[in-house]
């Protein structure tokens, strides 16, 4: 395959960037509203669960790939069974967008944002190029890094560590919400990794796993640090945002940077939604990669 043809495929870096966006973007900056409401200082537990779940799912994906040749039909059926899971994931994402869109921060713009989201998704389909979604991720990653830097640097001026926070609260209530939040992108990536669109080898999938592992570990570390530094989630609990905006207020003289965080979330949600739908279409249209 020539270099140029290789550029037409979704490459490993783009998949890894996708993982980075979802792990760092969604799971660090956002939590489901109910989860954040109930979690308090124990929100970091969701990070640990997230890591375990994430690694397990992607490892299962690798194993299925490894044994596809010997147990072709059975494992293909297994893979097809993932479709309802992905569809369920899409449903949950829609609900999540709906809830976030109707929070106070979005006020009456919620509906219009939702409409734009749908238009964006329509465009994904119009392009009929799944790679466009992943390529956008490569650019969006830069915006994320910029946003994170803007949000995190000022927090260094406001460090208050309270070790007691780590052993307070009740983590049991957050488990179901956390589990439901972790089924989305992994399944989509799994399908894409197997789909003929991506033509990934086992070795590349292992690299993907490594990225997932690093993202997961990074996520856990970040959440623990966050709880230690800020003592849990405060005024954005109801909308599911981790409160980095408090610290971000240092940036401007008067206002907060709520919009920065919310914007990042919306961006990832749109992208994630797009990836999920593209995953379903890819699988339905092209099936699994038979050559690998």
């Amino acid at each position: 395959m020539t270099n140029n043809k290789r550029h037409q495929d979704i490459n490993l870096r783009q998949l890894c960037t996708g993982y980075f966006l979802y792990s760092i973007g969604i799971k660090v900056l956002t939590l489901p509203s109910t989860l954040a409401n109930q979690a308090g200082n124990w929100a970091w537990v969701s990070a640990i669960i997230g890591v375990v779940f994430e690694i397990a799912l992607v490892l299962i994906a690798s194993l299925i790939l490894k044994f596809t040749k010997t147990h072709h039909r059975a494992f293909r059926i297994l893979c097809w069974l993932l479709i309802p899971l992905i569809i369920a994931g899409i449903g949950v994402t829609v609900v999540q967008i709906y809830h976030i869109a109707f929070t106070n921060l979005f006020t009456n713009l919620g509906i219009t944002v939702l409409v734009i989201t749908l238009i964006a998704l329509g465009l994904f389909f119009l392009t009929r190029k799944p790679r466009a979604v992943f390529r956008s991720g490569e650019i969006l990653k830069l915006f994320f890094v910029l946003g994170l830097i803007l949000a995190i640097i000022p927090t260094l001026y406001n460090i208050k560590v309270d070790w007691q926070d780590l052993i307070k609260g009740d983590a049991s209530q957050i488990l179901p919400a956390t589990a439901s939040n972790l089924l989305f992108f992994e399944t989509a990536t799994f399908v894409l990794a197997f789909g003929s669109e991506t033509r990934k080898t086992n070795r590349e999938l292992y690299k993907l796993n490594l990225t997932a592992l690093l993202c997961g570990v990074g996520y856990a570390v970040f959440m623990v640090l966050f709880v230690l530094l800020f003592g849990g989630l405060s005024r954005h609990q109801t909308m599911g945002l981790v409160d980095m905006t408090t610290a971000s207020q240092f940036i401007t003289n008067s206002g907060s940077l709520d919009w920065l965080i919310a914007t990042s979330i919306l961006a990832t949600l749109i992208l994630r939604f797009g990836v999920q739908l593209v995953a379903v279409v890819t699988l339905c249209k092209r099936g699994l990669n038979k050559n690998d």
């Binding site: 994904f124 790679r131 956008s136 490569e138 206002g255 919009w259 992208l271």
Partner: protein
């Protein structure tokens, strides 16, 4: 006019084109005669692999169109594809290369061009050496090159002729300038209508003072100023040069100064559109696209706020990232990220370090030059 005169029409002399002026470097520009234009490129590429393929397009105009490429560098499939598309053109006539440009775009409705248009032989020669295909059209001083990347809009001849110092900064400014041109009016509307909390108090007070008791709501005001700006731009473009400067003076004093003083338009709105207007000229080949996008983003910012702006920006990004004309991703080498091509993207390394041709552009000969060590060994 005699038949002999008609066969040899008068020709404009070579001059530096207004679109590609340089401080240092070649000043020759193309003219309306295709043979002269080809000769100007042949003067720079003398190798036998420089190939020309001649076609005649247009039922009545019988316009001569020449596809030029370097056979040992250009990807044969791209050449074949270009020639195939040109042969498919069935029309009354080709007046200018822009007619061909639109026909070469694989997308029916497209925001971006599939082919770049240049008026200087040195630029065309350098693009041919990167593996692109050039299309000369008789009667047009603009020569098309395919494939076309977004990156070409932030590159400039001066970057190559005036040394490496500051090239990265200049290219970054060009990129930022285009983003400011597109997003600033929409961003200003979104912030002043929906996200007042992020404006520092002093600035907010100034904006409030400047906009109170105004005739139009902010969004209407912004649209009026943008439309006025476009009218002035069009008028300046069409009018003779001396009248153009008169129009500029009227625009500055009447629209800018008097309208703000009388209270018809607010000063911040005029300022925002003025900054956006100036920055839009930073990419001369994208002025039309920037104008359209500025208007769309202005409406979205005014009606939907920052969230709408971001969602729309993502839509634009996905659309742009999905463009693959003639085997070259439009946003390459930024996405898909091609590490080797970063040597001449936002940053630029000295020419001796550019050992390979850009991978973003399909080519069949990736090596551009030997390294300094290899050259020393040869000696």
């Amino acid at each position: 006019m005699s038949e002999q005169q008609a066969k040899q029409p008068p020709q404009r002399g070579l001059a530096e084109p207004p679109t590609g002026q340089v401080l240092l470097g070649p000043r020759e520009g193309f003219v309306e005669n295709i043979d002269t234009n080809i000769a100007l490129v042949k003067k720079r590429i003398k190798h036998q692999d420089f190939k020309l393929q001649t076609l005649t397009i247009g039922k009545y105009t019988q316009t001569k169109v020449v596809v030029a490429y370097i056979a040992s560098i250009a990807e044969p499939t791209v050449v074949k594809d270009v020639v195939k598309r040109l042969k498919q053109i069935d029309c009354d006539g080709i007046i200018d290369s822009s007619y061909i440009s639109e026909s070469l775009n694989p997308d029916r409705i497209a925001l971006y061009k599939a082919a770049a248009a240049e008026e200087k032989p040195d630029i065309i020669a350098s693009r041919l050496l990167e593996g692109r295909v050039a299309i000369f059209v008789d009667g047009s001083p603009a020569v098309l090159t395919i494939p076309h990347l977004f990156l070409e809009n932030i590159q400039n001849s001066n970057d190559y002729y005036s040394g490496n110092a500051g090239v990265t900064m200049k290219r970054t400014i060009r990129l930022l300038g285009s983003l400011i041109a597109i997003l600033l009016p929409g961003f200003f509307l979104a912030v002043s209508l929906y996200h007042l909390s992020i404006i520092p108090l002093n600035t907010l007070e100034s904006i409030a003072n400047a906009t109170e008791n105004h005739l139009f709501p902010p969004i209407v005001e912004m649209i009026i100023v943008i439309i006025l700006f476009e009218i002035i731009y069009e008028a300046t473009l069409i009018m003779p040069k001396h009248l153009g400067s008169a129009i500029s003076i009227i625009a500055v004093f009447v629209v800018g100064e008097v309208a703000a003083t009388v209270g018809l338009l607010s000063a911040p709105t005029v300022l925002v559109v003025a900054i956006s207007g100036i920055t839009s000229y930073i990419m001369p080949n994208m002025i039309a696209q920037i104008s359209v996008l500025r208007f769309i983003f202005c409406l979205i910012g005014g009606f939907l706020g920052l969230y709408g702006l971001v969602a729309a920006f993502i839509v634009l990004l996905v659309y742009t990232a999905g463009i693959d004309h003639y085997g070259a991703p439009y946003l390459a080498p930024f996405t898909p990220y091609i590490a080797d091509d970063q040597k001449d993207a936002l940053t630029k390394v000295p020419f001796p370090e550019m050992l390979e041709r850009p991978r973003s552009i399909p080519n069949c000969n990736p090596i551009r030059q030997n390294s300094r060590e290899q050259q020393d060994d040869k000696q």
